[in-house]
Symmetry: C2
Subunit: 420 residues, 2 copies
C-alpha cells in the first residue's frame, strides 16, 4: 500500500556486528578471555540507538512510537518483552508506546512496516530497532533455535540443520531446473565476503574468501547436512554465520521533519511497500520464491516503479541460493538468469545494479532481528554517500530492500527514493 | 491518540480455555489418557478464528491485515514466526501482511493497537488473534518461561517464582501503605471464580472458591514463595493458573463495514487508546501502577471521557493485587479505596461498574497472548447482550479494557462505546 503521508528515512545506524569470524571475539581460547567479554544484548542495542540518533541528528525524546524487532531472544538470551528494554537502554524513550514484533528473519522489515502504519495514524517520528544475540550457545543448539522459524512440529526433524536443509533443497532444485552449478552459488559468497572487507562493521571484514575455497567441499568448507542426498548442495560458505548485532532507524513524516528541523535532503523516502505471508510448513516450489515475488509486485505497484528502475538492492542472502532466487523474485532478471547476472558483474558493487555492496547477510552478518532494518539503513547510507570504502560509485536514486522470513514464508519488500 | 478513522469491533471469539483446573484436561491420571489429547497450538487458534468469524459474520478472505499476539511460544511450544501460522490454520488468510507482536502479557493489547494503526493507514478490515499454550511443561519450568517478561538478568534470581514475588511485593506495600488486608485480596479471587462459574468457556467454570479457602493459607492454598518475608503476601488463589487458549477479533473502519455489509449496530467502537511503556527492571513504586495510570490518562483524553463514564471494565487481574491497583490506576476510585469499592459490591457483575464479569484472568484463565484480545471481545459481547449467564444486567454503553505487560512495564488501555 502506498503511504498516504510520505515516510522519510531520517537516518539510521548499527552496532559493530560480532561473531566467531572476528579476531576480537572473545572465546575461551582468546587471550582476553576472563578480562573482557563480548557486548551483550543491551550493549548492542545501545550502540545501535546511539549510532542512529547521531547519524540522523534526532534527539531520542522526539520519538513518539517505536517497534523493536527480535526473533528468538527467548532462546538465545532469556529475554522477551524487549520493547520495554528500549527505555532501559535509552531513558528518553520512557513512556512512549513500544512493542516487539517478530516474523523470523523478516522481523526488521515488519517493524518498519508497523512504524509506517503508525506514521499514517498520526505519529510524526517513529523508531524501528532490531537486535539479535546468537553466539551465546553452541552452533548445534543455535540451529535448533533458528528452526523455530519453520513449522517446527513437522520440519525440525528434516535434518539436524533444519534451515540449511530447506535451502539445500532450493539449491538442488534450482540447479536441476536451470542448469546452474555449485560455482554459481560460490560466486554469491565470494562477492559478499569481498564487499564485507570494505565495510568496517561487517562480521567478515577480516576474512578473505577465495573462489577456490568457496566452490569446493573440503575439510574447512564442509558439507555438513545429515541428509546424504542434499549434503552436496550446501557448504559452510553458503550459509550465514551466527552474529550478534543491532540496528536502528528513525522514520518521520513531512511534519516530523519540520518539527525536527531536518531538511528532507538528508533523507531517503520509502515510496513502496509490500508485505505478504504464506503458510508455515506448506509445500512450496523450491525453484523460486513465490511469496517474495508477490511482496515485490505489491511494492512496485504501490511505488509506481518497475524492476528496471532499481539502481541498488539490499536482498536477503541468508544462503547463497537465496540471493539468486531473490534476483528473480524481484524481477532483476528472468527465471534461471540469476547466475549470469551475477557472473557478468551486474550486481557487483560497481555493476549496473549493485546488490549488497556492504556484504549483505553472508558478508556483514545476520543478527536476525536487526537485518531488515540494516537493509533500509544501508540504502539510506548509499543514497547519501555515507558508505566510505563500500560506497557504490554513483549514489543511487531508487533502491530496493527485500527481507525474508523462514523458507519464503514472510516477505517484506520496500522501494526507496533518494530525496535530493 | 484518537483514531482519525473510526475503528469498529465487528465481533470476536475465543477457544475453550483449558488447564489443570478442568476435569476434561488430559493428564497422565486422566481416564482418557492415551486416547485423547488436549488441543494444541493450531487447534486453539483455529477454534478462536472460527468463533470470531462466525460471531462477526465476516468471511476470512475479507481480512486485509492481521497481527498475531503471542508471548513465549519459543519456550512453551517450540514455535516462533507465528504470524505465518495464521494462513496455515485459515488458508483464506494466505498472502496478506501478518506479523507476530509481543509485549509479554500485554501482547494482545498491542496487537489491537497495531491493527488500529493499520486501519488508519488504509486497511479496512483487520484481524487481531492471540494465543498461548502453557500446559506443556511442569509449573516450575513454566514460571521460568513467564519470567522472560521481567528483566531476566537481574530479576529472575529474586525468587524461584519471579512474578509472584514481584506482585507479592506489591501486595505487601499496598497493605502496609493503605491498611488493606489479606481478606481484601481474597475477595478479588472469590469474585473472579464466582463470575467464571457462569462463563461456559472459563478455565475455572467448575471450581467453587469459598472466601474461607481464599483468605487462608493452607495445605491446599499454599504460600509458596522462597522469600520468607514476602511469602505470607501471596497464596495460590491470588495467582492466575497456566492456561491454554486463543482469542481473535475482527476490526473494521466505516468503509470496511460498508464493504462487509455489516450494520454498525452490530459493533462496539474503540474510541480511546493509550499505550505506554516503562523500562524493564527499573525501580517502581509498588503501591500503585504508575505506568498503567499514564496509559489510562492517554486513553481517557483521546476519548474525551472520564473514569466516571465507565460502565464496565475488563482489567488485567494477573494477581489479586493487580485488580485492586488497576481500579486506582484507572481512576475508578482513589488511592487506597479499591478494597472498599470491591467489598461494597460496586465491581460485582450486578454492581455499579462491573469488573471482569466473565471471570477475568483469575477466573476465566490467562493464556497470555490471548488475554488482551479476549478483554476487547468481552466488552463487545457485553455491549451486545451476548454473554448469557455472565451478562451484566444492563448492556453498557461505555466500557474499558486494561491490559498489562510485566510488572507495570507495558500498559494498554482502551475505551469502547456501544454502537446502537
Amino acid at each position: 500500500m502506498k503511504p498516504r503521508r510520505r515516510v522519510f528515512v531520517v537516518g539510521g545506524g548499527q552496532s559493530d556486528y560480532l561473531g566467531r569470524a572476528r579476531s576480537d571475539f572473545v572465546t575461551r581460547r582468546h587471550p582476553d578471555f576472563g578480562e573482557r567479554h563480548n557486548p551483550g544484548l543491551e550493549e548492542h542495542l545501545k550502540d545501535a540507538l546511539d549510532d542512529a540518533f547521531a547519524a540522523s541528528g534526532v534527539d531520542p525524546s522526539a520519538v513518539q512510537k517505536a517497534y523493536l524487532a527480535n526473533f528468538v531472544g527467548e532462546r538465545f538470551v532469556n529475554q522477551a518483552h524487549m520493547g520495554a528494554l528500549l527505555p532501559r537502554v535509552e531513558p528518553r524513550l520512557d513512556g512512549i508506546p513500544i512493542a516487539r514484533v517478530e516474523a523470523a528473519c523478516a522481523s526488521g522489515g515488519v517493524a518498519i512496516g508497523a512504524c509506517i502504519d503508525a506514521l499514517q495514524a498520526g505519529v510524526d517520528v517513529a523508531l524501528a530497532a532490531g537486535v539479535e544475540i546468537e553466539t551465546t550457545c553452541r552452533g548445534a543448539e543455535g540451529v535448533g533455535h533458528v528452526a523455530l522459524a519453520a513449522h517446527y512440529a513437522t520440519q525440525r526433524g528434516l535434518d539436524r540443520f533444519t534451515f540449511p536443509h530447506l535451502f539445500a533443497r532450493r539449491a538442488r532444485a534450482y540447479k536441476e531446473t536451470f542448469g546452474a552449478s555449485d560455482d554459481d552459488l560460490a560466486r554469491v559468497a565470494v562477492k559478499a565476503y569481498a564487499n564485507a572487507r570494505r565495510n568496517p562493521r561487517a562480521l567478515n571484514r577480516e576474512v578473505e574468501l577465495s573462489f577456490a575455497h568457496a566452490s569446493t567441499i573440503s575439510r574447512t568448507n564442509k558439507a555438513f547436512l545429515d541428509d546424504a542426498d542434499l549434503r552436496p548442495h550446501i557448504r559452510l560458505t553458503d550459509c550465514t554465520a551466527f552474529t550478534d548485532g543491532a540496528s536502528a532507524v528513525v522514520l518521520a513524516t513531512e511534519d516530523g521533519l519540520a518539527q525536527l528541523g531536518i531538511p528532507p535532503a538528508q533523507c531517503s523516502e520509502i515510496v513502496g511497500f509490500g508485505h505478504t505471508v504464506a503458510a508455515l510448513g506448506a509445500e512450496t516450489d523450491p525453484t523460486r520464491m513465490a511469496n517474495v515475488a508477490r511482496a515485490a509486485a505489491e511494492a512496485y505497484a504501490s511505488a509506481g516503479l518497475a524492476p528496471e528502475d532499481v539502481q541498488l538492492a539490499e536482498v536477503h542472502d541468508c544462503f547463497t541460493i537465496s540471493e539468486l532466487q531473490m534476483y528473480e523474485a524481484l524481477g532483476l532478471c528472468g527465471p534461471g538468469e540469476a547466475p549470469a547476472l551475477l557472473a557478468e558483474g551486474h550486481t557487483a558493487r560497481d555493476g549496473r545494479v549493485p546488490v549488497n555492496p556492504g556484504g549483505g547477510l553472508l558478508g556483514a552478518g545476520h543478527p536476525i532481528g536487526a537485518t531488515g532494518i540494516r537493509q533500509v539503513v544501508e540504502i539510506w547510507r548509499q543514497m547519501k554517500g555515507r558508505c566510505g570504502d563500500y560506497q557504490v560509485p554513483t549514489p543511487p536514486t531508487i533502491g530496493l530492500t527485500a527481507n525474508l522470513g523462514g523458507d519464503d514464508r514472510t516477505g517484506v519488500v520496500m522501494l526507496h527514493r533518494a530525496v535530493r
